[in-house]
Symmetry: C2
Subunit: 199 residues, 2 copies
């Protein structure tokens, strides 16, 4: 059956959200227009507000309100370590691990020449300017473990080393708590290749 | 780590959507503010527009734009059958089955005295006025197969029969294509109880 036009438009707009299929979109629309009209109004306004207020951090390209993101503005972080990630969600993931106290640089993607994404789109001029600052002693390449992520890490690693700064890549192997039996072959191959001596 | 305030507000608003947890909400917010800014703008406007335009159908209480929903406005439907359901999503589900050509009445809930939902909240005055019209020959009770749904069906069935109109309840049993081995006990008990002779 056909929905009323305003309802159909709302379902279509919700369907554009990542991970939301047509059925979930319909369920959301019904809920928003019945029991959650206040939540619907707040969502509409929060979107409008965020579109105006949220831009990219001038230093690390993280999503930020104002010129600098909270991480770049914080004086408590270690300027000597710079962790390079593909997306803002990766920053959150590394932060939540609680094991890194340095700064970040967000590429907002990975090298993908066919899609027109080259060094400029990944903010390389800005990144190199950061290195020129002189505070960075080590660049940690934490791009995804995909073909594109590896290629991007390799490319940036070359740039970093050419400037006499150490570059490292995060380790890949069996996930913490993972059982060998259920780990895929590619991961196991990585884990074997990356083995290290025990004392 | 703490998000920028506008971003945190957007994540919170997305988290209010049914079936969206904090992690999905964050992923949606990042996506909307990076690659999908047009979609974000459209979603904000679609919500605003729908909140203003979508109300309830005067006849069947379905979500509608204007006085009557498309189903009530259609001259092609059978006025003698009235299908009573709990929610607009149930109307869509019955419509998609393609096996009903009558009219609907949407309760927008079920009897729940503890939550203050009585006959008036379910639109009973409006429903009885519809029956007074004289066209309805059968009321099909298609409320959910839950304790509240059954109680609501029983209550409305009494009202309908008291007016000399036939009331029926949709069948409950083993789902089409379902294997007995995997069907729960309650459903099987229903299926056995509702058995009918074969010719």
């Amino acid at each position: 059956m056909k929905h009323a036009p305003a309802l159909a438009r709302l379902i279509e707009a919700l369907h554009a959200l990542p991970g939301v299929g047509p059925k979930s979109a319909q369920r959301m629309a019904f809920r928003l227009l019945q029991q959650q009209r206040d939540a619907a109004r707040e969502l509409s306004r929060a979107l409008e507000h965020a579109l105006g207020a949220v831009t990219h951090c001038e230093r690390c390209r993280m999503l930020a309100e104002g010129a600098l993101c909270p991480l770049c503005a914080s004086p408590a972080r270690d300027d000597s370590q710079l962790c390079v990630v593909e997306s803002p969600a990766d920053v959150i993931a590394v932060e939540n691990s609680g094991s890194f106290r340095g700064r970040y640089f967000v590429l907002m993607g990975h090298l993908s020449p066919l899609d027109g994404v080259g060094p400029d789109q990944l903010g390389m001029p800005q990144f190199l300017a950061l290195l020129e600052g002189g505070a960075v002693r080590e660049v940690i390449l934490a791009t995804n473990s995909t073909v594109e992520g590896e290629a991007t890490a390799h490319f940036i690693g070359e740039l970093v080393r050419a400037r006499g700064i150490a570059a490292s890549r995060i380790a890949h192997g069996v996930p913490f708590g993972g059982e060998l039996e259920y780990v895929d072959g590619g991961t196991l191959a990585h884990a074997l290749q990356g083995r290290h001596g025990v004392s």
